[in-house]
């Protein structure tokens, strides 16, 4: 077995996947070749760390740090919410409301006073004003007639009565 073959089957040897013949050849090469022996030793030593892992010991201020982190996060969330509310919600809403108000005012100014508008609407749909006009038409007539004409009419009536 040469060095290349040896290196190719180290993993199989460690995984106990070699047959007895290969295992024998492997052991022979391991004894002969110092370079391969060193590689095998290093690999084996590294694998031994799997069974003896280093553990991080208890941390004295762990909870204090955790609490600080939670408080920081809460503050960040709060400021984030504040930013979202003001910049993404309130500000656009304010802009939208002012645009709507400006458009409404523009329409009002463009279409005249609210009263005339009201009259024009009534004139199209409501006919009650015609009856009202009919009821008071005489008042209008009296207004149209001059006072002198009324007096002349009264004098004529009086003279006919005397006769």
């Amino acid at each position: 077995m040469n060095c290349k073959e040896f290196k190719n089957i180290i993993a199989d040897y460690l995984g106990q996947n070699l047959n007895s013949d290969h295992e024998k050849q492997f052991a022979e090469h391991l004894q002969k070749c110092s370079e391969c022996s060193l590689l095998f030793e290093k690999t084996n030593k590294t694998l031994s760390f799997l069974d003896n892992p280093e553990r991080i010991p208890e941390q004295a201020f762990y909870f204090t740090q955790l609490k600080q982190k939670m408080e920081n996060r809460f503050t960040i969330n709060e400021s984030f919410l504040h930013t979202i509310l003001t910049k993404k919600v309130l500000q656009p809403l304010l802009y939208l409301a002012s645009i709507i108000i400006a458009v409404y005012i523009g329409i009002l100014i463009g279409s005249g006073t609210p009263n005339s508008n009201k009259y024009s609407e009534i004139s199209k749909t409501d006919t009650s004003y015609i009856e009202l006009f009919a009821q008071y038409q005489y008042i209008n007539e009296m207004e149209l007639e001059s006072i002198e004409r009324n007096l002349v009419a009264e004098e004529t009536i009086e003279t006919t009565n005397k006769k």
């Binding site: 290196k7 590689l39 290093k42 690999t43 799997l50 991080i56 208890e58 955790l66 982190k69």
Partner: protein, 189 residues
Amino acid sequence: MSDQELLEKIAKKDEQAFRIFVEKYHILVLNVCNNILNNYDDSMDISQEVFIKIYESIDNFRGESKISTWLYRIAINKSLNHLRSKKRQKWFSSLDSVFGDDSKKQDIKDSSLNIGEQIDLNENKVALQTSISKLPDKQKTAITLNSFEELSYKEISEVMEISVTEVGVLINRAKKNLYKLILDYYKKN
């Protein structure tokens, strides 16, 4: 105070109960994170994230499994997610360097590739950490829980929510790959 009582009190946002819970379990969570991340600062950060998640979503714990199983699961998921996001950052950082934008270059810590740390640490330990970090996520989780946390196949199956047979297969594959990766490490160095 039993774990169940502690959890009930934490659900009511009792800070004292949460403190007791954290002091009881932080070594477990911290070490699980460290076994996957191989970086003390990252492990501290992620383990704290685990406890914050527990504090915020304690109602989701149905009590069907052991608390330790639940903690292992959250710690592993958080650590693996952290590793993935680190990989993404590294990818984007390399893109930045390709396009010559040095200002966006980020100092991404990668314990398996940090030369300074490698010099300080024992070579064997570094070889092992580097090799484990190259394993696929499931194999990495299985071998970490089995070798470092000394969990049984049944316990690992509960944490990973897979069958005991699958755990065995994963650990065998992980060991085979690990032998090859360690050899490759020494061949290259």
